[in-house]
Amino acid sequence: MSRRDRGSVWRFLLPVGFLAFTAATVAAVLFKDWMPPVASEHGKGVDGMITYILCAAGLIFVAGHLLLAKFIFTSGADDAPAYKPIGNKAEMLFTIGPTIFILLISEIGVLFIGNPIWGQVFKEDPEDFQIEVIAKQFEWIAHYPGRDGKFGPFRMEKYDEVDNIAALWKKDKESRDDLVVRGKLILPAGKACQIRIKSFDVLHSFNIPAFRTKQDAVPGIYTKTRFVATTPGDYEIACAEICGVNHYKMKAKVQVLPLEKYMKWLEEEPGFFE
């Protein structure tokens, strides 16, 4: 056992390894955009928040690893005279300084950048379009209130896997003109939509990565999320909460239409019981 390996290769190997790791990570952040293209208004804010933390945390990450490498590389030989204390002031500065710095940047981030965007996602605005999304093993169903602007109530006794997936009843007045689209969510561009999410069986999570939107579907209650889709095009809903064996297959299309086209579609599509 060679304990006093003063000229140990590790004195070089470890710092080089840590620095290479740091450099590779930083390069991966700088030279490739890992996030899916963003297509919603608050999504830009989420990306801004992430960029802010990336910069702030990246600074700590790099500084920490540089120090680690430096300390290892410059550590004295073991047979040199014994350790001399650094001095209380320097130690205090070294410990308290970064602590306060990290606390400040993280709290500033969450208070001034994060929370306003968080507020946008959960804002209640009567002007918003209301759309309901139903999650069940292993499908997404979009439910629109139709021309009367009212969602038909769920009548779980009427549920049918093939013919009445949204569990509506034709004798309910509000249900007659409701639209039910299976496996596809059609959205207007440039208009805020509030999605109320409902699960029929287990937990699911309504996730549109391109919108930076994620909200669990919880049986028994409605959960809500809100976004403004910015760019017409096709996107995807994924399920982000394990919901059974075919969790990975639980996906649906998101189709963002220009506002006029969307309104036209709403007008023309016949209601569920029409």
């Binding site: 499908e139 049918d160 896997e161 093939v162 013919d163 034709k170 496996g183 059974g244 075919n246 299309k253």
Partner: protein
């Protein structure tokens, strides 16, 4: 302690409840063994080559309901097969109000045991639809469940008397299954919710499925008095009686209506 006791008590309750479910399921859709089969006990295998023919029509009273189409856009493969959506097969009304996909079978009065055919019955998943929509086979007969699509399916049998099966089937794939108890149950795909089929398993070969016009035909019936049941996945079931003597053909008609 008491939680354990109450848990135990409720466990017993739950078991009783489940037992209750089982019996009700039996009375709802599952074929029962014919009461008292004295003669056939020796395991004699009946020849069904000759015998009487029972035929008839199943009608739907009222307006033919609209056939719903389910969008298959969540899955590219299914969407390609059905760009306009997959039509529902749960309630198909043909000309003159003939109701398709009704399982007609002899519920009571059949004696003896019957050998299952060697040829397998086929349930094919093609274009994200089960073909055929209703499969009938005998106890012990092989059911070949095939995936002819370019996407994975999940076969989930909602059976009560037979063990419930729920397995993923990659594409392409084929599985052979047999069933030990007579029962009519649904099969669904957990991934593509619009996919639904009916499997009928019987102890004897006297069953039929009504065609697009609602017509059915059961062949090779020996003489006797029979209880005939017509079973539809959404409209429930109807019973009729028929007496066959001297090998003469008989007819029996059923009619269903939607209460709502």
């Amino acid at each position: 302690m008491k939680t354990m006791v109450s848990a135990g008590v409720s466990l017993v309750l739950a078991v009783l409840l489940m037992a209750g479910c089982r019996t009700s399921a039996r009375s709802m859709g599952a074929p029962e063994a014919a009461p008292g089969q004295p003669g056939g006990a020796a395991g004699s295998v009946h020849e069904i080559a000759d015998g009487a023919t029972l035929s008839g029509t199943v009608k739907f009273e009222g307006d033919a309901p609209r056939v719903r189409k389910n969008s298959a856009e969540a899955d590219g493969v299914c969407h390609k097969a059905h760009p306009e959506g997959v039509p529902s097969e749960s309630m198909l009304v043909g000309k003159d109000g003939g109701l398709a996909n009704v399982v007609v079978w002899l519920k009571g009065g059949v004696n003896g045991t019957f050998e299952a055919p060697k040829t397998p019955a086929l349930l094919n998943q093609e274009g994200c639809v089960y073909k055929p929509h209703v499969v009938t086979l005998m106890v012990g007969q092989t059911l070949e469940i095939k995936n002819s699509d370019g996407t994975a399916h999940n076969v989930h049998t909602l059976s009560k008397l037979n063990p419930e099966m729920n397995f993923a089937q990659p594409a392409p794939g084929s599985e052979n299954k047999t069933f030990g108890s007579p029962e009519i149950f649904k099969v669904k795909c957990d991934i593509h919710g619009w996919m639904s089929a009916v499997v009928g398993v019987f102890k004897h070969p006297f069953f039929a499925v009504s065609d697009a016009d609602g017509k059915f035909e059961i062949k090779g019936l020996p003489d006797g008095e029979y209880v005939v049941e017509a079973w539809h996945e959404k409209l429930g079931k109807q019973e009729g009686k028929v007496k066959i003597s001297g090998g003469a053909a008989q007819t029996l008609d059923f009619s269903f209506s939607d209460e709502e």
